[in-house]
């Protein structure tokens, strides 16, 4: 009997906790859109300066690491493809494989994972330590809404910088594949570029772009949600920062899967 109650209790608790978290996230989402889309029309403006600063931080400052990693991933992909395709003498298909995989899948995913590690964690840590230091309370008492002051600028900056980074990352990744394929595998540069141009379609481009927009939403909201969850002191900040990265990457992969299935049948 106690075994049965334990199982039901466990399932119930998990479901209730999940439901509770879902409600909290929904509130956050509604509130964010309220402060970005509705309130500015009523004269409660956005914090443009802060948005631009975050744009530089999330976008421009992330580019070196995103670019480097994506360049290397492109080269790795070309090499692995060559290893398999050379058995069939089909090495010119490296171009197709690298470009399509980069544009549809790997560039958005790598960018999102790197931005999560760099910026998602920073968002959680910043909001978390502000909460611990009563700074969030101070904002509220001053009549400054924390969503407007803290979340809206980060959200907008993330929404612009992640798709932009993804586009750049795609080109860098294809460039990495090109360099390796022409220099190491020995494919003729002209042929490689021609095959790349033939392989890519507008649909591939939009797939990657749509994904990256949703990745941006995940990174921002998970970071913010985890940040506001912080309780206690420095230990809580650490735990929620770690958790924000893990949760964010998990949901990025889930969203990625959903869109991949969706676009596969489209």
């Amino acid at each position: 009997m106690s075994m049965v109650t334990a199982v039901f209790g466990w399932t119930g608790r998990i479901s209730l906790n999940g439901l509770y978290a879902a409600c909290r996230v929904c509130l956050l989402v509604v509130s964010t859109f309220d402060w970005i889309l509705v309130r500015p029309l009523r004269g409660q403006g956005l914090r443009v300066r802060s948005t631009l600063l975050h744009l530089v931080e999330f976008g421009a400052h992330s580019f070196p690491v995103v670019g480097l990693v994506c360049f290397l991933v492109g080269a790795i992909m070309a090499m692995q493809a060559s290893y398999q395709l050379s058995r069939f003498g089909a090495q010119q298909f490296i171009a197709d494989l690298v470009s399509v995989a980069a544009m549809r899948e790997l560039a958005p995913l790598m960018t999102a994972v790197l931005v999560t590690g760099r910026c998602g964690s920073a968002i959680a840590a910043e909001i978390g330590s502000m909460k611990v230091a009563e700074e969030i309370d101070a904002l509220e008492v001053m009549g400054i809404h924390p969503i407007r002051f803290l979340v809206a600028p980060k959200f907008l900056a993330m929404l612009i910088s992640v798709p932009a980074l993804t586009m750049l990352a795609t080109f860098v990744m294809i460039g990495g594949g090109y360099l390796l394929a022409t220099a190491v595998v020995g494919i003729e540069p002209g042929l490689y570029l021609e095959r790349t141009a033939n392989a890519l379609q507008m649909k591939d481009f939009s797939t990657g772009l749509v994904k990256s927009v949703f990745f941006a939403l995940v990174i921002c909201w998970v970071g913010v949600y985890r940040g506001f969850q912080v309780e206690g002191g420095a230990e809580g900040v650490g735990r929620m920062t770690t958790s924000s990265v893990v949760t964010s990457i998990f949901w990025i992969v889930v969203v990625d899967m959903m869109f991949t299935v969706f676009f596969y049948f489209l």
Binding site: V246, T247, W251
Partner: protein, 282 residues
């Protein structure tokens, strides 16, 4: 006395953390222009009372009236309007660490007014001068000492020229000399601007310096209200114990402490069904 003489009125306030009742049936009348001190031991609910007053917590029952209007029943926009007329100094000052001292004090003005930057600069410098921090405009909060942070917090709370100002443990963590300086500052603000100040503290020394009237809280209930002299002469055993600085019986206290811990833990569980791992991952 008419209702108009009271700026803050608390009626039947009940506050709960989950199932645990922290404040029970609190009734208070705070007069315009006075310094009112909320006294009590650690964990008696005085900080909770303050959080309810400034709207950081919604009471489980009861009403808080500012100038006769019920703060708890207001819409979010109305509450924001009221908050522009109140200032609060937090225990740890709670200055925004990402901004310089100047920007911290100028923040409420920038957010809530359409004043020109030159006007904001003058007002900010006046406020900083008032708390004795002129010349520290470009310092980051992390570069300031504890006492300076408290002063900066007061300057920020004063930025919008509020009618009422709330202090949470203004002298906590300061040495006696600096604490006395902060007390003098509270007194000075009250005299200069005819502010209503509400101060939460357990420092007996500062009560004598700053308080016009005070209330004494024990385990979530008001034991006594009145002028400091009245409280000192009060017949309630806790009042006598508190002002006489007599310790509680150790054995009884430790038992009670363990019980309160257990209750607190249970309450925290009930209050917050989502703890760790409430979404996937981890």
């Amino acid at each position: 006395m008419t209702n108009n003489d009271y700026i803050i009125q608390v009626r039947g306030l009940v506050a709960k953390y989950g199932e645990t009742t922290v404040l029970e049936d609190i009734n208070l009348d705070i007069r315009r222009g006075e310094t009112f001190v909320i006294l009590g031991g650690s964990g008696c609910g005085k900080s909770t009372l303050l959080r309810n007053l400034v709207g950081l917590m919604r009471p489980a029952a009861g009403a808080i009236l500012f100038n006769g209007e019920d703060f708890t029943a207001m819409s979010e926009d109305q509450r924001t309007a009221v908050r522009k007329r109140m200032g609060m100094c937090f225990q740890g000052a709670a200055l925004l660490n990402s901004m310089s001292l100047y920007d911290n004090v100028a923040l409420p003005l920038r957010e809530h007014t359409k004043l020109k930057e030159s006007t904001i600069e003058i007002m900010t410098r006046i406020k900083l001068d008032l708390v004795g921090l002129a010349g520290y405009e470009d310092y980051q909060p992390s570069e300031l000492s504890g006492g300076m942070k408290k002063r900066a917090g007061i300057a920020r709370a004063m930025a919008m020229d509020p009618e009422m100002i709330f202090y949470d443990e203004p002298s906590a963590g300061l040495d006696p000399i600096v604490a006395a300086g902060v007390d003098m500052l509270i007194r000075k603000m009250q005299n200069t601007f005819n502010l209503t100040s509400v101060v939460v503290t357990h420092e007996l020394a500062s009560v004598e310096l700053i308080a016009d009237r005070a209330c004494l809280l024990k385990a979530g209930r008001i034991v006594a209200v009145g002028a400091v002299a009245e409280l000192k002469a009060h017949s309630h055993p806790f009042a006598r114990q508190f002002f006489g600085r007599q310790p509680e019986d150790e054995s009884a206290r430790s038992e009670e402490f363990v019980r309160s811990l257990m209750q607190g833990e249970q309450a925290a569980h009930r209050a917050r069904p989502a703890g760790r791992g409430d979404t996937t991952g981890e």
